[in-house]
């Protein structure tokens, strides 16, 4: 609903967009909420636009399209198998895989439009587990590859999970394959080192 309203912060919005790419049911739900938003818009009493608004808009219709300026990110760390990067990440800088602990690597996902967003990838080897932990704020997780079981449920590719400080869990990656998750956490961690430290605390190293 917040995604439909456009009120999500950049990090969570990116996570939700990534999930929507692969989930038809959630896309349908989103469109329902967008219909609601549209209905709320239609029910507005309305405010008169600036007097020359229509004329100015008509004038712009024939203006040539400026060439695209969006950065195209080409360098990306390798992914296992046939896994492809989600479209939603196509403008994001993604760092190389960095070691985090035994069987664990992580990568920073940089949003071009919001450098303070905390988005990262976790890559955990098959059969490894994270120590039991809880979260300071809200954490959103989208499974891109493999699967983990945290005692609440098994999360596989395409699954989306939201956790917060009320949830204490211990994700265990299934033995058949390593697991790669995209995650966004609350808060405004600006420095790489602080994110690494936070992750370190999470992993218990």
């Amino acid at each position: 609903m917040a995604h439909a309203a456009g009120t999500l912060a950049s990090g969570p919005r990116l996570l939700v967009a990534t999930h929507l790419e692969g989930c038809a049911a959630c896309r349908a739900a989103l469109r329902g909420f967008e219909d609601v938003g549209a209905q709320l818009m239609l029910d507005e009493a309305g405010l008169a636009p600036a007097p020359d608004a229509l004329a100015a808009t008509l004038e712009r219709l024939d203006a040539p399209l400026a060439p695209p300026v969006a950065p195209v990110v080409t360098r990306r760390p390798p992914l296992p198998g046939t896994l492809e990067w989600p479209r939603s990440l196509r403008h994001c800088r993604i760092s190389r895989w960095r070691p985090l602990g035994p069987g664990m690597r992580w990568s920073r996902v940089g949003l071009p439009f919001d450098r303070s967003a905390n988005v990262f990838l976790l890559r955990i080897a098959a059969g490894s587990c994270l120590p039991p932990h809880t979260h300071r704020g809200e954490e959103l997780t989208q499974v891109l590859f493999g699967a983990f079981d945290d005692g609440r449920a098994v999360f596989g590719p395409g699954d989306f999970d939201a956790t917060d400080s009320t949830i204490r869990h211990q994700p265990v990656v299934q033995a058949s394959s390593e697991c790669i998750c995209l995650a966004a956490v609350d808060g405004r961690l600006v420095h790489e080192s602080r994110l690494a430290r936070w992750l370190g605390a999470l992993i218990g190293i």
Binding site: M1, T7, A17, E34, A38, L47, P49, A53, R60
Partner: protein, 220 residues
């Protein structure tokens, strides 16, 4: 907590602030019941796509621009920014008209999502040329959900959405309003209502789930 009164842009008039939960102003029919059905506007946008019909485009602008501006201002944009966004949204509406499929979306929902994406992007400081490329990555994914083509069959007149909203409990309607009209984080809502954060989240989720059920009922 302060909630925007739903039937006016200004702060509550003296004597009206009786502490009741705010109500969404959509219960008793469209404010301009005489306006043409939404199909009429779908047809106008199809004419824009087919013939680059500027007269049809102007009709769309006249009908939707004030409502869009009203919604943008109510949800926190300054009137100046709202005017900018309205123009940008209609330029995009023109450029993307060929992609419009009335079986998938109403012109009102189409315009709403365009404007919402533009505003999100504007907050990020993206340039206009970039916006037009990127407005809504998920929107570009083909929608193959079962029943996707029927999604608006019941909502064709807006009646389905309207009925779904009126059937929500007033608590749930308040939360839906918070989600759409108040740019507040869950923590803000928790602090202002004095409710525990977990409760706020649970209730928001319940409201969204209920709304989703009601919308699905009207579509099936």
């Amino acid at each position: 907590m302060t909630l925007l009164p739903v039937d006016g842009f200004a702060a509550p008039a003296p004597g009206r602030d009786d502490g009741r939960a705010p109500r969404l102003r959509l219960v008793t029919g469209s404010p301009d019941a005489a306006s043409p059905p939404l199909e009429h506007f779908d047809a106008l946008l199809l004419a824009v796509a087919r013939d680059e019909d500027r007269a049809a485009f102007a009709q769309l602008f006249d009908h939707f621009a004030p409502r869009l501006k009203g919604w943008l201002v109510r949800t926190g944009s300054t009137p100046e920014l709202a005017d900018d966004l309205v123009q940008d949204a209609f330029v995009l509406l023109w450029r993307k008209a060929a992609q419009f499929d009335p079986a998938r979306a109403r012109v009102s929902a189409w315009l709403f999502t365009i404007a919402r994406n533009l505003r999100v992007d504007r907050h990020r400081g993206w340039s206009e040329t970039w916006l037009s490329l990127d407005a809504g990555a998920a929107d570009m994914v083909p929608d193959d959900a079962p029943g996707a083509d029927a999604r608006l069959a019941a909502a064709r007149s807006g009646a389905g959405v309207r009925s779904a909203l009126t059937q929500l409990s007033s608590d749930h309607r308040t939360l839906v309003q918070l989600a759409f009209y108040e740019d507040k984080s869950h923590s803000d809502i928790a602090r202002e209502t004095g409710l525990p954060l977990g409760t706020v989240k649970t209730r928001l989720r319940a409201a969204a789930t209920r709304l989703r059920q009601l919308l699905e009922e009207y579509r099936s």
